[in-house]
């Protein structure tokens, strides 16, 4: 049994005093410190903060790719060691990371194959989801033949098909142009509302965070630590129209304040 302090056993993910550092040119730099938060089952949490606040490092830690130097990571109520966390979450990075030698279908089915499902079965399973992802007819196309938006959707499909209750999304819209971005955000929201998973989304875009998330966590600059949390009260299902609502602006000004105060603190420190 886990011995987490005041931990909610229904939390999909719970971090307790997580700390991380890395060595650069012989110097040990503290990247993250005292990171504690939870993500409930089916909850969508966004993480924002200045660049260099360790947002991506935090996702690497949760996914099992980067070792924490302190604290514990609980998944579904149980503490997981670094190695044991590999394969527990579905991780999507900013670059789509499609394998250029696999067709769109083969890329979508990648996680299924990794999990030991026979190739033919994995491909058939992935093909079923192509229409819902607006990819019909592109099953056999190589990534080099697809547009940026389509590549990103294939990457999303690959992430969803990993069939993990926890999604880690690291600026998944970062490489897209504004139009594609808006369209894919709305699309992701529909997708998530249809099949609720726990999501931890890293972004530098305040509007994106508010539009998508149930809760927004603000990290400070290095060493990254949680300085503010904003529950988002906007009703679901959400549509683009909420972007013009008073509630949205209220959230936005509080979050901008949290980030802006940080900027002043940095300026005050003589940077």
């Amino acid at each position: 049994m886990s011995f987490s302090l005041q931990a909610n056993d229904h939390a999909q993910l719970a971090l307790r005093d997580v700390e991380a550092s890395y060595v650069e040119r012989g110097e040990t730099l503290l990247a993250l410190t005292s990171i504690s938060f939870e993500i409930a089952d089916g909850e969508f949490v966004a993480l924002i903060g200045p660049s260099g606040s360790g947002k991506s490092t935090l996702l690497d830690i949760i996914s099992g790719l980067f070792p924490e130097t302190g604290g514990t990571v609980h998944i579904a109520g149980h503490p997981f060691s670094l190695e044991a966390r590999l394969g527990q979450s579905a991780y999507m990075r900013q670059r789509d990371l499609l394998l250029p030698w696999r067709s769109a279908l083969g890329n979508a089915a990648l996680a299924l194959e990794v999990h030991g499902i026979p190739k033919r079965e994995a491909l058939a399973h992935a093909a079923e989801r192509f229409p819902a992802f607006g990819l019909t007819g592109f099953e056999d196309a190589y990534p080099g033949q697809l547009s940026g938006g389509m590549r990103q959707r294939v990457a999303f499909l690959r992430t969803m098909l990993a069939d993990r209750p926890l999604l880690l999304l690291d600026e998944p819209f970062g490489a897209l142009d504004a139009l594609n971005r808006v369209a894919l955000q709305a699309w992701l929201l529909d997708l998530w509302e249809a099949e609720r998973r726990s999501v931890l989304l890293v972004t530098h875009d305040i509007d994106e965070a508010i539009f998508l998330a149930d809760r927004v966590i603000v990290l400070s600059s290095r060493p990254g630590t949680i300085v503010y949390e904003e529950p988002i009260s906007l009703a679901r299902p959400r549509h683009r129209s909420v972007l013009a609502s008073d509630a949205f602006f209220a959230h936005r000004s509080r979050l901008a304040g949290a980030l802006g105060l940080l900027d002043e603190a940095i300026a005050g420190a003589g940077r």
Binding site: D60, L86, L97, L99, L110, E113, G144
Partner: protein, 258 residues
């Protein structure tokens, strides 16, 4: 980059080559150069007509040596490449030695092979394989290391084993480099086989060239050279064709693609 049609691409080299041969033919006839010194292209063609049985017989021998030597180089090169990649100790121990071994002219080992293995097929295959081994082994090592780090991290985050990452990312990433190593290797192998035959053989194009030169049958020497050139070009093109068929995705790589 402009896309030329095949005709546009081939017409100028073909015209140039034809012009060169015509000039050669005319110059030799005007100067009345003796045939044993420099035969005109027409005499070389004539040699193909009269000596075709002989040429085919020896071409077959050389081709077998090249193919067996190349096959051995391919198997050994890829095996050693994978071994070097999979073990830090092997990498530290073998890799510098392989690089350093390239300062030894491999063809200089031909006389030794003759002493150790005699005049048969084996020493020819070994020399050919030795020459073809290096580009394949080195490109295999480089190729296996060229796998995208983030793609490998993604696979790890999915819980992929080392074997799965090797099979799904590192091998496919290495294949283009292995193919380009093989293309270089096969042209080297033709040189290796002929040199091994020149040093000591009783058949093969290298042997035929040496015998013909000793008899001042210069047009036949040229015929052998033409065949060797065609063999090199043909084998190179064959590997390029296999590569195109085996790696169809290579055609769709763009700068924005990963």
């Amino acid at each position: 980059m402009s896309r030329d049609t095949p005709i546009q691409r081939w017409i100028w080299p073909t015209l140039l080559l034809t012009g060169l041969f015509l000039g050669w033919e005319v110059a030799v006839r005007i100067n009345d150069t003796p045939k044993w010194m420099l035969p005109p292209p027409s005499a070389i063609l004539e040699s193909f007509r009269t000596d075709w049985r002989l040429l085919i017989k020896h071409t077959r021998v050389t081709l077998v040596e090249v193919l067996l030597g190349f096959g051995l180089a391919l198997v050994a090169g890829i095996t050693v490449g994978i071994a070097i990649d999979s073990s830090t100790i092997l990498r530290r121990a073998i890799y510098p030695l392989i690089i350093a071994s390239q300062t030894i002219p491999m063809v200089a080992l031909a006389p030794l092979m003759l002493i150790w293995f005699g005049y048969g097929l084996l020493p020819k295959i070994l020399i050919t394989a030795l020459i073809g081994f290096f580009p394949i082994a080195v490109n295999t090592v480089d190729g296996l290391r060229s796998g995208d780090r983030e793609m490998l991290a993604l696979l790890r985050s999915m819980g992929a084993s080392g074997g799965q990452r090797f099979r799904m990312v590192r091998v496919p990433a290495a294949l283009p480099l292995i193919f380009s190593g093989a293309r270089i290797a096969i042209t080297f192998c033709v040189i290796g086989a002929v040199f091994a035959e020149l040093v000591g053989a009783s058949q093969g194009l290298g042997y035929l060239m040496e015998r013909s030169a000793a008899q001042f049958q210069t047009s036949r020497v040229f015929a052998c050279i033409v065949i060797l050139a065609l063999m090199g070009i043909g084998l190179f093109s064959l590997i390029a064709l296999i590569e195109r068929l085996a790696l169809p995705w290579r055609r769709y790589l763009t700068e924005s693609g990963e």
